[in-house]
Structure formats: structure tokens, C-alpha cells
């Protein structure tokens, strides 16, 4: 049910950032206390690769930056 979450290595992250010509700030975010993040043991500022099944493309990759959940 839960799509595959993996922590990306530093090289992978820099390749990703240069591919899209962005900074980590421009990536989609995910909170550090998200169950999927806790399971794989990712920390704040890590980038996570999420591989999902896609209706249109069959397989789709997305990337998210782990951030601290802000205080209310």
C-alpha cells in the first residue's frame, strides 16, 4: 500500500538538483515525523525518493525534502 520510500545519497541529490536546476528549497517537502520517514530513519534535510505506481505512466518517481514540522 505505502509506496517505496528510500533515502537518496549525496551524489544522487546533487545530480537531482542539477537536473532540475533547483535548490533543495524548491523540492516538495515531507515532515520529519511522517510515518514513512520514521520507518526508513531519514533525518531533517535528507531527500527521499518515492516510487509510486502511476495510472498514466506505470511507474513514477517523486522526491521530497525532509523538514521539521513547524509549530502551530
Amino acid at each position: 500500500m505505502v509506496p517505496d520510500h528510500t533515502i537518496m545519497s549525496e551524489e544522487e541529490v546533487s545530480a537531482l538538483l542539477s537536473r532540475y536546476n533547483i535548490t533543495t528549497e524548491q523540492l516538495p517537502k515531507i515532515f520529519h515525523d511522517d510515518p514513512a520517514v520514521k520507518t526508513i530513519g531519514a533525518n531533517v534535510d535528507d531527500v527521499i525518493r518515492i516510487v509510486r505506481k502511476s495510472h498514466t505512466a506505470g511507474r513514477a518517481e517523486a522526491y521530497r525534502l525532509v523538514i521539521k514540522r513547524p509549530k502551530k
Partner: protein, 879 residues
């Protein structure tokens, strides 16, 4: 690429009395506005320091004229503090959670931490009233707390116990302010207040800002009298009471009078801020109209946010009722002459068009009929002066014109305009049409473009906008033209196509085989873009005949090849193909309709297989031409035979009525039998169901089958000679179920998918015995609409009908709000050149548009290539 400006954070705070005095340019002490000479009183509400609205005067603060001065704030020193109504909830909370003597929060540091959490814990919440128990003892100074009562709009009181009785003791705004002042800064943070920008005592006003005159200008009526803005009226009241209050205070008036005046001042300040507070009679104008004060200026549909900032009125637009005209092209719009004469397009005079424009100016502003050339309403000189054209000055102005002038000419045939119908839920709600000036007072449009606008002609109105620049016109033609929008991005299929009579007409034309003489064929094809007649299909007695399929084939593009099943196809187990007795096997080879009936599946809006194939293999333009031809030929086809429906079209013969009675009778007895089995305790429940549920399901099933049988009996009698059958089979409108209910039996009425059970004790209506489980006691209608309902049936029908009505009402409002929120969230996203979907700040929302980078309007139902279509058109047979 980050955007040049980015909002880091927004700070919300309160204006402190100090800030109010600092931003004020003048202390206002007089309630008067203008003296007898019409000059503003110094230190009055219209003081020249607050800005100027009268032309000719100069602002005393910034020395600018009325058009340049932005206006400046003044202030009123209040005799005594008053509560700001907008903050009563905050005041109540603070009074209840802080100590009445030391001002600290009534919780120990441990208790606070339990709610707020530690520094890096994210689960924490802000302190609320619930976290502090009523009437507890202060943990800091040990003082006994009192219950705080709050009465709308602005009264606070403490409940004391004196001699065993509860006594309410009113807190004056001054008392409250003193308590607020005592709350230390550190205690405010867990309450969600930043003391640097919002000290709680600032919620009690001691000084009131006076807004600049520019935001409350007085207007001069026709009779020369000045009429002041509602805000000014309210400020006058405040200053008057404030003055009286001060005088009484200085004279040492009795406490009772002081309290009365204080309350009056509070009332005026409250209504000045918000004139619709609960528990407070609204302040009224002399005429009895409630005043529009500060809050009313912002709130609601016509308020500043929804009325002035999110939505504004525009020029160069018009609105009127719409009506159909099948003789127009889908890309045209019929514009009433009155509208075309009023609306203009600016044309810059050059050496190339000067003669034409001179003639247009000479034509003048009045166009006598739709065929007359267009005129002009204004001429703009190079110095931007506008000359209005009227009967007297046409020739003089025309002789004046030279390059550099601009002529505002009227709309004429062929101009590009934007056409729109609200609610604009998708991009096809605004499309560009070509003008066709017509007599009459309505906008005319081809009924085939109704689906994208979701328009009908029961009184709908639509808006037309005239683009004013070359750029806007180019954009409208290239992006918004009707023929660029035949495909809906929602499902990737054509949204424009034949509707209602187009479908019935083309069905009647193409069904089976018919032969037409030359005159008849030409009548059918008269308005279609057809240039040559094919050789006749047969010659009888020397008379040439053309077949119906030949006639339809003439509007198809040559080389079109496709094979599909029509709407009327029954999905038989083995398709008889060309031999299908319903003629539902459509085969188009080299642009000739070889077999099959053209109906909704082929040319209808939302389905339109032929339209879709023409778009893919030819062009949008060709598809639009096809739709134009189709609407014309189908309307002529339906007029050829005539088409109507009357009450006697629902009549059946004696045999059918007998059969229907038979079916209903046996169904009723079947139901009774099953009830008997249930009552004898012999009924075997279905897995996972109770016995009652099983019985209900069985009854529903039996009755449902009975209704379908009556429908089949009726259907046997009513053939394609019946208009309702033609409409149902071709997909034009209605279904065989509608026909069943009209001629056969209406069937079970249901609420939430179950038989009707609610009503009196153990029965739905007093007409039935208690505990009756029979079919007619629970909403089965055995009659047809034609036959008529009996009273109990009529009542059950109303119950079932009400549910449908409520459902649609709820659904539309819910989905409308959902769509609004989605549009607001998605409106600024775009697909970047690298295929990512990004926000305006360059943030990535999706790494690949739709995850497969496919535009639904350019895909074949989700697939990048329409393999079936390509193979079909080459093999010329079904695959």
C-alpha cells in the same frame, strides 16, 4: 529561478495608542464638517490636514492636489477608554486565564508545559480557556479568582458571592484595561500573542484613529446639498458624545450620568467598527437605512475583498439573453445591432487605411440595418482628446483625420469577440467567436456549442467581451477560438457536437435505406458546404435517386475510414455486422457511409467518434466545418419528416394493457407469497443478511423485474415510428426507462435505495394496515404516468422525487465549493520547459506533468498513439 520578491512572513499586530497618535496629523475635536461657506472647519472631521477631496484645494499636510494626496489619518482622544468589539473574544479569554490581582496566567510552569510542550516538541497547542479551571486560586499570589461573565456585545462582569447570593459586578473598560496592563510579556507567548506587536491593553481604545477624508468623501447632490459618508456620520456621533462626556466629567457629574454616557460612547464606537454585531441595535441613517460602517465595507459579496479586489467590473463587455440559431456556424455569434452599434474597436489611422476609416467616420454612429456598413462612435486625436461623433460633425471630423488619429469603429461581421457563460468552470466557458450582426435583442449561437458553456435557452444570459488590441485579438483567435476548443482537456474527447434534434435528425436520415429525388437531396444539403453531387445511387423510370447514406457521406471528408458500433447497438453476443437488423454497425470506407446509422456515438457532444477521428486525421478546422455541415443537414432532415410527441404516443393496445396487468398481478402475488414464507419463518437468509433484509431484497428484485417486463411489453408496441423511441435509441434525449414509466409502470419509489418505510407506527400511511409488507404499502407504483397515479402512489412519488431534488442541490453546492478551492490552489501552476509542474516561486509540484508528460487533448484516450485508428484507416475494416 526564484521570483524577485518573496514574502518571508506576515506580522499581525494591534495599533498602540502611541502609534495612533504618531501617525495622526491632526487632533480632531469638532463634530462639524463644513462652515456656511462650504469651507472645512479646522480640527473638524473634514480638516484640510486629513487630505482634500474638493478640486482646487491643496492638502495642508502634503501640499498636493486632490488627485495626488493619498489622505492622512487624524485622531480623537476618547474621554474614557472603550472596548474594541473586534477583540471581545480575546479580552474574554485573557480575563479568564489571568489572575485578577497579579495578572499572571493561572497555571504553574509545569501545567503550561503540559499544554504548550517543550521548545522542540511539535505537538503543543496554545493555551485556551479550557485549560484553566473556573474560579481557581492563583498559583502565583494565591488570590481567589472570580467567574467572568460576558454579555454581547461588550459587557464584562465578575460574579461575586455576597451574603450567600451571587452578585454580578460590572467591569468598566478602564478596569479591564488595568488588568490587561498587568499581564507580563512572558505570559503572553504561550497564549499565542506576540507582546512586541500586540499588548493586550491595546484592545481597549483610549484614542481613536480618524480615517482620511479620501476614504469617506462627501458627495454633492443635484440640489447642491452636501451628503456625508456613513463613516463621517458615525464619527460625528462619536465626537459629540465624547465632548459631552468630557464636559460632564469636568463638571463632576453624578456617577449615574457618567456611566450612561460611557455606555453611549461605547455603543457609538462599537457600531462605528461593526454595525452588525449580535445584541446591538444597528445605527441607522435618518431614512432608516442601517449605516455601512468599517466592517460592512470589507465583508460579504460586495465588500472590499470579494467585490473590489478579487472581482471587478470591466468595460467593453455586454450581456443579454441567448437564443439558438442553427444556421450560424459554431464559430459565430449573433450580436444584436443595438449591441454592435454601442461596442467599438479602436483602429489607428495609417496611410493604408485612411480612406476606409474616413468612410467609416462618415457612416456615423447610427447603423440603420444589419447589412449597412459599420460606423464609428468616437475619434481620438493624437493629443488624446476624444471627439464624439454625432449627426452634425461627421464630415468635419472625417476631413480632420490623418495618420496618428484613432477611430473607434463599431463591431462588424467577422470581428473576434470573447463569449462567456457563468459559472466559468472550465476553459471552454470562454471562447472566441466571430461576430454576425443580427436584428433582434438576443445573442444567437449554434446549439452545438451549448455543451461547453452548459447553456440552454430557458432564459440564460451570456456575456460578450470585445478585445481592444491586436495582441488580444491574436491571442483570442489562436488560443480561444471555438474550433481550437472542440476537444475537452477533461477527457480528451470532443465536447462540441450534435445535441437533441441534431441527433434525432441525423438518426432519422441515416437509419436503414431511403431514397431521395434530386429536389429532396438538394433540400437536405442546401446549407452544407457541398459543391458536387455524386452520381445517383439508382435510376428508376428515368428518375435519379440518391440514398440517405450517400447524402450523409457528402459532408464526410474523403479518405475517412472507420468502423464502430452506434449508440443503438445492443451488444449482441455475435455481431451480425452489416446484416444488423438495427443497422447499428457503422462502416465508413473512403469517406462513404457503407452501412450503419449515425447517432449520438458518431456525432454527439461528449462522444462524437467521427468528430474525434476527423480532428486526429485532418484538423480542428475540418472538424468544425463538419459540425457546421452536420447541424445544418440534421435540422433539415428532421424537418423533412417532421418530429413531434404527444400524449397519444404513449398509448398501447388492449393486448399490451392486458399483458401488463398480468405481469403486475403475478408480481404482486409473488410478493405476497414471499411475505407468507417470511411470516411462517421459512425464509432462508442470504449470507451476511438478516431475514428482513433478505425479504426486502427479494421484493425489490421481483418488483424491479416486473417493471422492466412492462417496459418490454410497451417497447414491443412502440417502434421506431414513435418519437420517444427514436430519441431514446439514437441517444438524443431520454431513455427507454422514461418510456417504460410513461406507458408501462412507474415502479418502486425509494429513499436511500430502500423501499419507503417511514411514516406512522408500523405503516407508511393510514391507508394501510399496520405491519403490511405488501408492494403498494411501501411505495410501488403500478400505474404509468399516462394511466395516472392513485393518491397513495402520488404521495410516495413525491417522497422519492424529493430525495432526488435534495441530492442534486447538495451535490452541486458541495462540488462547486470543492472546485473553487481546487482552482484557488492550482491557479498559478504551469508546466515548465523541462516538463515539471512548478509554482510561481519555481517550486516543483510534480516532476513530470501528469507523470507521463501527456496532454490529454493530444492523446488517444490516454495512449500516446491511436494504434486502432491508424490500423483501421489503412486496412479499412474493424480491428
Amino acid at each position: 529561478m526564484p521570483s524577485p520578491k518573496r514574502i518571508g512572513q506576515i506580522e499581525f499586530g494591534l495599533l498602540s495608542p502611541k502609534e495612533i497618535r504618531e501617525m495622526s496629523v491632526r487632533k480632531i475635536i469638532w463634530a462639524d464638517t463644513y462652515d456656511d461657506d462650504g469651507f472645512p472647519y479646522p480640527q473638524g472631521l473634514m480638516d484640510l490636514n486629513l487630505g482634500v477631496i474638493d478640486p482646487g484645494l491643496r492638502c495642508k499636510t502634503c501640499d498636493q492636489k486632490a488627485s495626488e494626496c493619498p489622505g492622512h489619518f487624524g485622531h480623537i482622544e476618547l474621554a474614557k477608554p472603550v472596548i474594541h468589539v473586534g477583540y471581545t473574544r480575546l479580552i474574554r479569554k485573557l480575563l479568564r486565564v489571568t489572575c485578577r490581582s497579579c495578572g499572571r496566567v493561572l497555571l504553574s510552569p509545569d501545567e503550561i508545559e503540559k499544554v504548550v510542550g517543550t521548545e522542540d516538541d511539535q505537538t503543543g497547542e496554545l493555551l485556551s480557556e479550557k485549560d484553566v479551571k473556573k474560579e481557581r486560586i492563583c498559583p502565583h499570589c494565591g488570590d481567589q479568582q472570580l467567574k467572568i461573565n460576558f454579555e454581547k456585545p461588550t459587557t464584562f462582569s465578575e460574579v461575586m458571592v455576597e451574603e450567600g447570593k451571587k452578585v454580578e459586578h460590572k467591569l468598566t473598560p478602564a478596569d479591564i484595561r488595568a488588568r490587561m496592563e498587568k499581564i507580563p510579556n512572558e505570559d503572553l507567548i504561550p497564549l499565542g500573542i506576540n507582546p512586541d506587536v500586540a499588548r493586550p491593553e491595546w484592545t481597549i481604545l483610549t484614542v481613536l484613529p480618524v480615517p482620511p477624508v479620501t476614504m469617506r468623501p462627501s458627495i454633492i447632490l443635484e440640489n447642491g446639498q452636501r451628503s456625508e459618508d456613513d463613516l463621517t456620520h458615525k464619527l460625528v456621533d462619536i465626537i459629540r458624545i465624547n465632548q459631552r462626556f468630557k464636559e460632564n466629567q469636568d463638571a463632576g457629574a453624578p456617577q449615574l450620568i457618567i456611566e450612561d454616557l460611557w455606555e453611549l460612547l461605547q455603543y457609538h464606537v462599537t457600531t462605528y467598527l461593526d454595525n452588525e454585531v449580535a445584541g446591538c441595535p444597528p445605527a441607522r441613517h435618518r431614512s432608516g437605512r442601517p449605516l455601512k460602517t468599517l466592517s460592512q465595507r470589507l465583508k460579504g459579496k460586495d465588500g472590499r475583498f470579494r467585490g473590489s479586489l478579487s472581482g471587478k467590473r470591466v468595460n467593453f463587455s455586454s450581456r443579454t439573453v441567448i437564443s439558438p440559431d442553427p444556421n450560424l456556424s459554431v464559430s459565430q455569434v449573433g450580436v444584436p445591432r443595438a449591441v454592435a452599434n454601442e461596442m467599438t474597436i479602436p483602429v489607428r489611422v495609417t496611410t493604408h487605411n485612411i480612406e476606409e476609416l474616413k468612410q467609416i467616420v462618415r457612416n456615423g454612429p447610427l447603423r440603420p440595418d444589419v447589412n449597412a456598413p459599420c460606423g464609428a462612435n468616437y475619434v481620438i486625436r493624437p493629443d488624446n482628446r476624444r471627439l464624439r461623433l454625432a449627426d452634425g460633425n461627421l464630415d468635419t471630423v472625417a476631413d480632420l483625420i490623418e495618420p496618428g488619429y484613432t477611430v473607434e469603429r463599431q463591431l462588424r461581421d467577422g470581428d473576434v469577440v470573447l463569449f462567456n457563460r457563468q459559472p466559468s468552470l472550465h476553459r471552454m466557458s470562454i471562447m472566441a467567436h466571430r461576430v454576425k450582426v443580427m436584428e433582434g435583442r438576443t445573442f444567437r449561437l449554434n446549439p452545438a456549442v451549448c455543451p461547453p458553456y452548459n447553456a440552454d435557452f430557458d432564459g440564460d444570459e451570456m456575456n460578450m467581451h470585445v478585445p481592444q488590441t491586436e495582441e488580444a485579438r491574436a491571442e483570442a483567435t489562436i488560443l480561444l477560438s471555438v474550433h481550437e476548443n472542440i476537444l475537452s482537456p477533461r477527457f480528451g474527447g470532443p465536447i462540441i457536437g450534435g445535441i437533441h434534434d441534431h441527433v434525432s435528425g441525423i438518426f432519422m436520415l441515416t437509419h436503414g435505406t431511403r431514397w431521395f429525388t434530386k429536389e429532396e437531396a438538394l433540400y437536405l444539403l442546401r446549407y452544407a458546404r457541398v459543391e458536387h453531387m455524386p452520381p445517383p445511387g439508382k435510376v428508376d423510370d428515368g428518375i435519379q435517386y440518391w440514398s440517405n447514406k450517400q447524402i450523409f457521406s457528402m459532408i464526410l471528408p474523403d479518405q475517412l475510414n472507420m468502423v464502430f458500433h452506434a449508440s443503438s447497438c445492443q451488444n449482441c453476443d455475435t455481431c451480425k455486422k452489416e446484416m444488423c437488423e438495427r443497422d447499428a454497425y457503422v462502416r465508413i470506407i473512403d469517406g462513404i457511409l457503407e452501412s450503419g446509422t449515425i447517432d449520438k456515438k458518431a456525432i454527439g457532444a461528449f462522444d462524437g467518434q467521427i468528430v474525434n477521428r476527423i480532428i486526429r486525421h485532418y484538423s480542428m478546422r475540418r472538424a468544425a466545418d463538419f459540425i457546421d455541415d452536420l447541424t445544418k443537414i440534421s435540422i433539415r432532415a428532421i424537418m423533412f419528416d417532421g418530429f413531434s410527441f404527444g400524449i397519444d404516443d404513449e398509448d398501447l393496445s388492449k393486448t399490451e394493457y392486458g399483458q401488463i396487468d398480468e405481469v403486475l398481478k403475478s408480481a404482486a402475488s409473488d410478493v405476497t407469497r414471499r411475505i407468507k414464507i417470511y411470516e411462517d419463518g421459512q425464509l432462508e437468509p442470504m449470507p451476511g443478511r438478516t431475514v428482513e433484509e433478505t425479504l426486502e431484497m427479494q421484493i425489490m428484485q421481483v418488483l424491479g423485474k416486473a417493471r422492466d417486463q412492462t417496459g418490454q411489453i410497451a417497447g414491443r408496441h412502440l417502434g421506431l415510428g414513435n418519437s420517444a423511441v427514436v430519441m431514446a435509441v439514437s441517444g438524443a434525449r431520454g431513455s427507454m426507462l422514461n418510456l417504460t414509466q410513461m406507458a408501462g409502470c412507474i415502479g418502486q419509489q425509494s429513499v436511500r435505495g430502500e423501499r419507503i418505510v417511514r411514516g406512522y407506527d408500523d405503516r407508511t400511511l393510514p391507508h394501510f394496515r399496520k405491519g403490511d409488507r405488501g408492494s403498494d404499502a411501501h411505495g410501488f407504483i403500478a400505474h404509468s404516468y399516462k394511466g395516472g397515479l392513485n393518491p397513495t402512489e402520488f404521495f410516495f412519488h413525491a417522497i422519492g422525487g424529493r430525495e432526488g431534488l435534495v441530492d442534486t442541490a447538495v451535490r452541486t453546492s458541495q462540488s462547486g465549493y470543492l472546485q473553487r478551492r481546487m482552482i484557488n490552489a492550482l491557479q498559478d501552476l504551469k508546466v515548465a520547459y523541462d516538463g515539471t509542474v512548478r509554482s510561481t516561486g519555481g517550486r516543483i509540484i510534480q516532476f513530470q506533468y501528469g507523470e507521463d508528460s501527456t496532454d490529454p487533448t493530444k492523446s488517444a484516450f490516454g495512449d500516446p498513439v491511436d494504434v486502432k485508428g491508424i490500423v483501421e484507416s489503412i486496412l479499412k475494416e474493424e480491428v
